[in-house]
């Protein structure tokens, strides 16, 4: 299987009054037709990683090092023209807040048509036809009428559908989704998740889906990478991560879920809080909160242990895979 996205040793620093080491030595790959979940809590670097794939981070304050290759092209080496051709055509992104991501002074139809004209050089009329087709693809009722609607005239769920239509208008190979269902109501969230799952299959897209919600990851991801303090601390298939997490943080995160907990019984918690990212990590970032921490955890960076094919964990306690027979 060829990799559409290949990230190696990615480091992202934000400058300013103080330096933030947002992403540290992160490597990941995304295969064709695959849905990869980036799971983590706020500040773990999941959205920053996603934005780096499209170079959406503020230019002046951000230092990115490492390798980011998307469909064989070096994203970090692109100039502005190359970037704007690349964004929206090969790769596109959907966001948490469609009300902020859409332009309030253009109709939905105009916004979708603009993208199609820009990237495919279509005429206004053809582009509008594509816009209508896209609104039907995302199941917006009375799509024809909605073409002329402004974002504020639509409900939250409708706007999210419109943003998906906009993102998919040029049939990108890769969709980057940044918590697209977090701001939605429960009954709407599940509709959007099922829609995304269906469109992913239909269009044969690869998706990177950022979420803090394990339930959401379960509904949509094939593979999951768990992030903590700017690093991927464990990755594997969805059921490996959900059923047999190896890293103590991943274990704690899954155990602290309220789902199915007995009323009034004590919930499992991870004590303490995530570290500040003022310095690049020189030891295991989770060690201060870890119940299994040992002296060697604070002496150096833990190795990224290969546990099986596609399965890694960044912890000294994890045994590497036995040599394959």
């Amino acid at each position: 299987m060829s990799n559409l996205v290949e990230v190696r040793d990615l480091n992202i620093r934000f400058g300013g009054d103080r330096t933030v080491h947002a992403v540290n030595n992160l490597s990941l790959t995304l295969g064709e037709g695959e849905v990869l979940g980036l799971l983590g809590e706020s500040g773990s670097g999941k959205s920053v990683t996603l934005r780096a794939l499209m170079r959406l981070l503020p230019k002046k304050r951000t230092t990115i090092t490492g390798k980011v290759e998307v469909m064989g092209r070096d994203v970090l080496a692109m100039d502005d023209d190359a970037l704007s051709n690349f964004r929206g055509q090969a790769v596109s992104m959907i966001f948490q807040e469609p009300a902020l991501a859409l332009d309030p002074v253009y109709t939905i139809g105009q916004q979708i048509a603009e993208t199609v004209m820009r990237h495919e050089g279509k005429s206004q009329r053809d582009a509008m036809a594509r816009a209508l087709e896209m609104l039907e693809v995302v199941r917006i009722p009375s799509a024809k009428r909605r073409l002329d609607a402004y974002p504020h005239e639509m409900s939250g769920g409708m706007r999210q559908r419109a943003m998906i239509a906009l993102a998919l208008a040029c049939k990108p190979k890769i969709l980057l989704a940044d918590e697209p269902t977090t701001a939605l109501d429960a009954t709407v969230q599940i509709q959007i998740l099922l829609l995304l799952r269906e469109l992913q299959r239909e269009f044969g897209m690869s998706v990177i889906f950022v979420t803090h919600d394990i339930g959401v990851a379960i509904e949509i991801c094939d593979r999951v990478a768990v992030m903590y303090a700017g690093q991927i601390i464990e990755q594997g298939t969805l059921s490996q991560i959900v059923r047999t997490p190896l890293h103590p943080y991943a274990q704690g995160l899954l155990a602290s879920t309220v789902h199915g907990a007995k009323r009034g019984a004590r919930l499992e918690t991870i004590p303490g809080a995530p570290p500040s990212l003022d310095k690049a990590p020189t030891a295991c970032s989770f060690a201060p909160r870890c119940a299994h921490a040992q002296p060697r955890c604070t002496e150096g960076l833990p190795p990224d242990v290969q546990v099986g094919p596609g399965r890694t964990a960044r912890c000294v306690l994890v045994d590497p895979a036995p040599a394959m027979a």
């Binding site: 809590e41 009954t187 599940i190 339930g215 379960i218 009323r263």
Partner: protein
Amino acid sequence: MTQIADVPDRLEPIEDLGGAAQPLLRVDGLTKHFPVRGGLFSAAKTVRAVDDVSFAIAKGETVGIVGESGCGKSTTARLLMHLMPRNAGDIVYDGRAVGRELSLRELRRGMQMVFQDSYASLNPRLTIEESIAFGPKVHGMADATARALARELLGKVGLRPETFANRYPHEVSGGQRQRVNIARALALSPRLVILDEAVSALDKSVEAQVLNLLVDLKREFGLTYLFISHDLNVVRYISDRVLVMYLGEVVELGPVDQVWDQPAHPYTRALLAAMPSSDPDKRTEVPPITGDPPNPIDPPAGCRFHTRCPFAEPLCGQASPKLTELDPSGHQAACFMAIPGSGHSRAPRGETAR
């Protein structure tokens, strides 16, 4: 290091009047309509944010309110706290009608609230200690005593007073700030605490810490909670009874296990089915419900859910179903399918409930 030099005087909780049998809070016909200015050519409209809501909270119990945005759950909380005037309805605190027999000042002693946004609900210019001591001082406590109380409460919510008392809200994390808000709510020794999405903005691992704290504090101080959340898992974990709201109305209420195991209202069923799966092999295949919640401006006539309900019949668009007792446990639902002899084809026949 021990901080117990002298145990500060607490404000005495408002005394228990009616005994255990009398509900701590009774709400009757609570209604709030917001006028919306019409456009140049359109008439003024009303948002029926809370419409004829009635319920009671027993002493020592935790009642949960669930529902989607715009269902009126937060407005209900704000009306109870008298943060906005209501259009109609009675609020009775331990047998005393608020406004007539119980002054607002006394009510605030007996009832406190924790909000979702931990930062916006603290004064950025006051240290954490000053914020917590502020309420007791307003109610006549001496400054030194109030500060000592604040430090004691910080300890109770798991924040070391020597580290945190003199910090400002922006200097602590979200989870810690929410603990400060909880400490501040407890400073007046209330008997009822309203938690309005109090854990929703927190990360999962921090959410679990704060939920454990809430359970501990409830036991230690003998508190009663009204817990508002859109997260059904959290509500199930913490609540004894639950109210399900839709577009300003209570559509179902009852003991939490009854409502979860035998939901009677189709909206409750949809809400429960909409929860993401927890098993990778059992993903949701069909969305339980289509469309968005309608705009609470001019809600649908009749049963407000009938526009999204798979079982709607002409009757549902014409008349509003009343909350009806389903069994002796106090499980009630407002749906014609649950009301015997209502005329809905799925309603139980005759007088016996299902």
